[in-house]
């Protein structure tokens, strides 16, 4: 086995275990943190596939924004951090069946695919979409102004969101 294959197997295992923990843990914050681990595993997989841009976007958008949003939302709106209800409903076996069928279908489709045992062609030299993007975002000749204004915008939105969701004086009067 090559190093890349070993890394891939470890990452894949971590991703799968984390994904399983997301749906089984009863603590909502823990579930969100496991979700972060899952998404990070997917990002590493992208990076292994030479898809650097997708990896960065995965980290920035899914971990940096969406998962953090989950955590904020849970912390700001819930008093009860633990989910007490049953974790399965009566239709669980339908979902399980569908999941197994889909997995089987995918395996069947990919089984005969030639791409499985050929190597991808090498990247052209100097091809680096990520650094071009980074340059464009902070270069005064490109988009530094919108980029900075967007960060001010996010600050304003953050202040506003905290005000609306977490207003100590309104307390429980709205329940």
């Amino acid at each position: 086995m090559t190093t890349a294959q070993i890394i891939f197997l470890v990452v894949a295992a971590v991703t799968l275990v984390s994904a399983f923990m997301v749906v089984t843990t009863r603590n909502l914050i823990h579930a969100a943190l496991w979700l972060v681990a899952t998404l990070f595993g997917v990002a590493v997989t992208y990076a292994l596939l030479n898809a650097n841009f997708l990896a960065v976007v995965q980290v920035v958008v899914y971990i940096g924004a969406i998962a953090i949003l989950f955590i904020f939302a849970v912390m700001l709106t819930r008093k009860e951090m633990r989910d007490q209800g049953p974790q399965l409903n009566s239709a669980w076996w339908i979902s399980a069946l569908l999941a197994v069928l889909t997995f089987g279908g995918l395996v069947g489709m990919l089984w005969g695919w030639k791409g499985m045992d050929t190597l991808a062609s090498e990247m052209p030299v100097g091809f680096d979409s990520v650094s071009a993007l980074g340059d464009a975002l902070i270069s005064p000749n490109a988009f530094v102004l919108p980029f900075e204004v967007a960060s001010v915008l996010l600050l304003a939105a953050l202040v506003g969101a905290v005000y609306v969701a977490f207003n100590p004086r309104s307390g429980d009067s709205r329940k």
Partner: protein, 484 residues
């Protein structure tokens, strides 16, 4: 290609930068101001606005572009930035006593207001559609939160949510328009768009993009038929917020609209002029007709603000005619000042009469005001006359310049629509006046210094500028757009 930011890039938007830094510092400083002394936050916010206003006025007369043509400093932006900063000051002055009386005093109010002003200023200066888009969001998001400031009251929550949902929806139109324009011309900067358009690239996509842009801005300035949110939001939001948002957001929206259309779409005149004319006529007719049946003063002023969006839109109609354009831009700027001054005064009077829990907002609550508080009733009369366009008020002078520009542009019918709808509007504005003078009633008025100061000062300005409009109009005429 320099790798570093030029000093001239920064000086082009220096007032906005200073205000941004001030707002961030205010956010931190507010932590150390004890709860009973939140008035200090207001004072600090006002100080920031004054500093920024100073820089704006020092820069007056200079022109430059920054960040590779993404932002422009010119007479137009100086004029409107000064107007926006003064609007911000009035907004702080009206909020100072009001939020304490209503139990809403929070430091975030002033920080968010400053952020919103920064968004407005950038929107005035933007000469790239991406900057327009982000500045518009920076303007809107603090306003969504401010509209919902009184989260304990269901109307305020409704106002915030409604404004947020419809505002996001309209932003969608705007972004789609920008995407189509980029698709048609390969550029988001105004100079790039106009170069591509005059080279004769496919103009159908460009026209659709420009029309979608118009829809997006139409929502923001509350033009009919995109006005549905206005009465509910203006009524539900705390009155000091309504006062600020009805002037500030409108000024910024019109400024961006004017700059986009005059600089980026001169080639689309044939398609867009009839649309703008129809929009202006519809807005004047719709706003004034629906206002007739209102009994709540906040809703009445909301429909009045819709109607005034129509009058201001008239200034845009001849934008493709190079002979008339400078005059009509000057008339539009003058009318924006007239509207802002009168509007802040009228909302100041509303604030002086408002009670806890949304009481004191019906027109019948104004009955007998003249016999109870003469200066206040006289000031309200001045504002109502100015909104009608009756001499001797600034509103009359503004309408005069506006109608003259439109007639010069060859749209006599539009001017006639304007005059007729002004006559209709006299009915509902004068009903407020009649109530104050000729009905019996026991209105209670507040006595906060800064509220009284605001309506007093704006009433004086409304009268005085109507006698000597020349200096202001001369300044507006010199506030030309910088071409590339």
């Amino acid at each position: 290609m320099s790798q570093y930011i030029n000093p001239s890039d920064l000086t082009t938007i220096l007032p906005a930068i200073v205000l941004t830094v001030w707002a961030c510092a205010l956010l931190v400083a507010d932590l150390f101001i004890p709860h009973e002394r939140k008035g200090w936050t207001a004072v600090l916010a006002a100080l920031g606005l004054v500093v920024s206003l100073d820089i704006t006025l020092i820069q007056a007369g200079g022109t430059s572009t920054g960040f590779k043509g993404m932002v422009t400093l010119d007479g137009f932006s100086t004029f409107l930035n000064a107007l926006l900063l003064v609007s911000g000051l009035f907004g702080v002055a009206l909020a100072y006593g009001y939020v304490r009386r209503m139990g809403l005093e929070r430091g975030e109010y002033y920080t968010l207001l400053l952020f919103s002003v920064v968004g407005m200023m950038l929107m005035v200066q933007a000469s790239d559609l991406i900057v327009v888009f982000i500045a518009l969001e920076l303007l809107s998001i603090p306003l969504y939160v401010l509209a919902a400031l009184n989260v304990r009251q269901i109307e305020s929550e409704e106002a915030g949510l409604k404004y947020f949902l419809l505002g996001s929806f309209s932003t969608g139109f705007l972004v789609y328009g920008i995407a189509l324009i980029f698709g048609a011309t390969g550029s988001t900067s105004y100079s790039g768009i106009v170069t591509a358009a005059s080279a004769g690239t496919s103009s159908l996509l460009l026209t659709i993009g420009a029309a979608l842009l118009l829809v997006g801005f139409g929502f923001k300035v509350a033009a009919v038929p995109f006005h549905m949110w206005t009465p509910d939001v203006y009524q539900g939001a705390p009155t000091s917020v309504t006062a600020f948002m009805s002037s500030g957001a409108k000024i910024a929206g019109f400024a961006a609209l004017l700059r986009v259309f005059a600089l980026a779409f001169p080639t689309l005149t044939a398609d867009l002029t009839p649309i703008l004319a129809a929009l202006a006529a519809l807005t004047m007719i719709g706003g004034n007709l629906i206002a007739v049946s209102q009994t709540n003063i906040k809703r009445l002023l909301a429909y009045s603000s819709i109607a005034h969006a129509g009058y201001i839109l008239m200034a845009f109609v001849p934008y493709g005619n190079p002979q008339v354009m400078p005059v009509s831009v000057a008339a539009g700027l003058f009318y924006l000042v007239a509207y802002a001054v009168t509007n802040f005064g009228a909302w100041g009077v509303v604030i002086a009469l408002e009670k806890q829990g949304g009481k004191g907002l019906e027109i019948s609550d104004y009955a007998g005001l003249f016999w109870k508080n003469r200066p206040l009733a006289l000031a309200m009369t001045v504002f109502m006359l100015s909104l009608i366009g009756f001499p001797p008020t600034i509103g009359m002078v503004g309408k005069f310049y506006l109608f003259r520009a439109v007639i010069d542009g060859g749209f006599v019918w539009l001017a006639i629509v304007g005059v007729v709808t002004s006559l209709i509007s006299a009915y509902y504005y004068l009903r407020v006046v009649v109530n104050m003078f000729m009905q019996e009633g026991e209105p209670q008025t507040g006595s906060e210094f800064w509220v009284n100061f605001t309506w007093g000062l704006t009433a004086l300005m409304t009268i005085i500028i109507s006698f000597v409009p020349q200096p202001l109009f001369a300044w507006a005429s010199s506030a030309v757009l910088r071409l590339f």
